[in-house]
């Protein structure tokens, strides 16, 4: 689509040409002028700050930023740090599971709710309300429910299953999975809403045609409906990945990064080292590593998706 704003009026040429071309010029430039502030803001406050962080990751900043370059010393220190590798591994595990579980639950609930259920609105509110809560609230509530001595385990034991254990929260090798449970609880409702909207937007005629052809319901879902939800999968993935990477409040409230630091994530690592431990340089290096990993995964995905959208 061309950006030219066609001149008002048609062939009538009695208006003063210079004034018209000035108005033209402004009109033509308007899209750029409107988008300009946003672009500027993004360049300065996002990319500029990323560059600033990058600069700091090459310095020896301790409590407050210092700007003298000191080489790769922070990165060397970072790669030799056990806790960092635990955090990275956790991000992989948590990220993958979180996205998968939210998508699966979201899709399942959307499909179920799409079956012309009575009280659909009521049930939808129940699935959606967790999104309204802040992560601090979510983390605190789930911390108690998952607490072996006080919560779920105790309740089931009191119901008679004396040997039931559910101590993931206090188990170093399982603590990261509790973050998945709480995180999925919070975010899958939103994914459900996305999928529900997507399902409602599907063209009924294609489905009907398939049914007339004799295809079974599971087949219809698998071959027609799910593929046509592809843009929704994309949007959901972007939003969920964004939440997973930024997960900070949830971890702090639920496990505090523990037991020990077994449920640490790069975001909490960066905060702890950058602010609490007065090692801003190291925190900056970890932030750069985090962002580079994100870029490596997200950028190609976005690029290919936007490309196919333009064509399609």
């Amino acid at each position: 689509m061309q950006s030219s704003a066609s001149a008002p009026g048609g062939a009538g040429a009695s208006a003063v040409p210079p004034r018209r071309s000035l108005a033209d010029a402004i009109e033509r430039a308007l899209p750029r002028i409107v988008l300009g502030p946003t672009l500027l803001v993004s360049l300065v406050f996002v990319y500029g700050f990323i560059l600033w962080t990058g600069w700091l990751s090459f310095t020896e900043s301790r409590m407050l930023p210092r700007y003298e370059i000191a080489g790769l010393v922070q990165y060397i220190s970072l790669f030799g740090n056990d806790r960092w590798w635990v955090a990275v591994r956790n991000l992989g595990v948590f990220g993958a599971l979180f996205i998968f579980v939210c998508m699966a639950f979201g899709l399942l609930m959307a499909i179920l709710l799409d079956q012309r259920i009575r009280a659909e609105g009521f049930l939808r509110s129940i699935y959606l309300y967790p999104m309204a809560l802040s992560f601090i609230v979510t983390g605190t509530a789930w911390k108690w429910i998952l607490n072996p001595g006080l919560g779920f385990e105790r309740v089931v034991q009191q119901l008679g299953f004396g040997s039931f254990t559910f101590d993931w929260l206090v188990n170093p090798s399982m603590s990261i999975y509790t973050v998945v449970i709480a995180g999925a609880w919070q975010s899958s409702g939103f994914v459900m809403a996305l999928f529900l909207a997507g399902l409602r937007g599907i063209d009924e005629s294609i489905v009907k045609a398939a049914q007339v052809d004799g295809a079974s319901t599971p087949r219809i879902y698998w071959s027609i409906i799910v593929p046509s939800l592809r843009p929704v999968f994309f949007s959901a993935f972007i939003i969920l990945a964004h939440i997973a990477i930024k997960s900070f409040d949830l971890v702090m409230a639920l496990t505090g990064g523990g037991p020990g630091f077994s449920s640490d994530l790069p975001a909490t690592f960066m905060y702890a080292f950058g602010f609490t431990r007065n090692q801003v340089g190291l925190g900056a290096a970890s932030a750069m590593m985090m962002m580079m990993t994100v870029a490596a995964v997200v950028v190609p995905l976005m690029y290919s998706e936007l490309r196919s959208q333009r064509r399609g």
């Binding site: 750029r32 946003t38 990319y47 179920l112 108690w144 919560g151 976005m302």
Partner: protein
């Protein structure tokens, strides 16, 4: 024979419905459990909490914790509860939501109907930027706000939230406007309407569904934000999330869990209200095209 078959089909359909409803109920329990824990704890007395387990029903119901959370709990030297902070949050959330929504709408409009060379690249740039973790921007933003002279003030906080909300609002509006037919704008231009005219008269009236989605999303994000609120405000201007954190997190003092839970629910009420009441419009708005293309 036909009867038998019909009965079989009807039976399997009923089984299917049972399974569907069953799954929905089990899922609903998973979602409701934390809310139940929060509410029941907030009406228990402290002895009840200390002695019992957290999923048990309260022995006696008392709303003292709620009154204390609203107007009597300590969030610092000030012991006047969350009341004041509630309005502080409103004072910056509303402008931030409105401004970021408006700019997002204009951006979406430009990106779909006034495309120019590089506008798609700008959009991609904007989208990738939304992954930046907020801890990274705290120090440089503090320095920048200091230089601009709006450090530690409400306008400063509104500015920060607008800056970091633009990526999402632009995404929502762009995805929505992509499905608005080009002919509308083209016809209007031939009729002599300019850039803003088309926006106000034609595009905006089509937008309520996506405006609702965007406002709900932004409101939730900004109302629930803690990090920016704690770093870029101070004292009496602190948002409700910061006050809640102060209330709940005592390092060496006695914890009152019922007050904590009541306070957490109070802090969450506006967003809960928005989601429950406007949830229907939220889905409708998403259906209308927030997520396509």
């Amino acid at each position: 024979m036909a009867d038998h078959l019909q009965a079989q089909v009807a039976g399997s359909q009923r089984l299917f419905r049972v399974v569907v409803y069953g799954l929905l109920v089990v899922l609903a329990l998973y979602y409701l459990m934390p809310l139940f824990v929060m509410v029941s704890t907030s009406v228990k007395t402290l002895e009840d909490i200390r002695g019992g387990n957290l999923i048990a029903l309260p022995a006696q119901i008392s709303f003292a914790a709620w009154t204390k959370a609203w107007s009597g709990a300590c969030t610092g030297v000030d012991c006047s509860g969350l009341r004041g902070n509630f309005w502080n949050s409103v004072s910056f959330v509303v402008p931030a939501v409105l401004i970021s929504t408006l700019i997002g709408a204009l951006n979406g409009y430009v990106l779909t109907m006034w495309r120019f060379r590089g506008s798609d690249a700008i959009f991609t740039l904007l989208m990738i930027g939304c992954f930046i973790p907020f801890q990274v921007v705290l120090l440089p933003m503090a320095q920048t706000l200091g230089v601009l002279g709006i450090a530690n003030s409400t306008p400063g906080l509104v500015f920060v939230h607008v800056v970091y909300g633009l990526a999402f609002t632009t995404l929502f509006f762009r995805n929505f406007y992509v499905s608005v037919p080009d002919e509308l704008a083209k016809a209007a231009r031939i009729d002599g309407a300019g850039f803003f005219r088309i926006f106000w008269r034609i595009i905006l009236p089509l937008s309520p569904p996506i405006i609702v989605v965007c406002v709900i999303w932004q409101f939730t994000q900004i109302w629930n934000d803690f990090l920016f609120g704690v770093v870029f405000s101070s004292g009496e201007r602190q948002p409700i999330t910061v006050a809640l954190n102060n209330l709940v997190n005592t390092s060496t003092g006695v914890k009152e869990y019922n007050v904590d839970m009541a306070a957490a629910i109070i802090a969450a009420l506006p967003t809960l209200f928005v989601y429950v009441v406007a949830g229907k419009y939220f889905v409708r708005g998403l259906t209308a095209g927030a997520v396509k293309g």
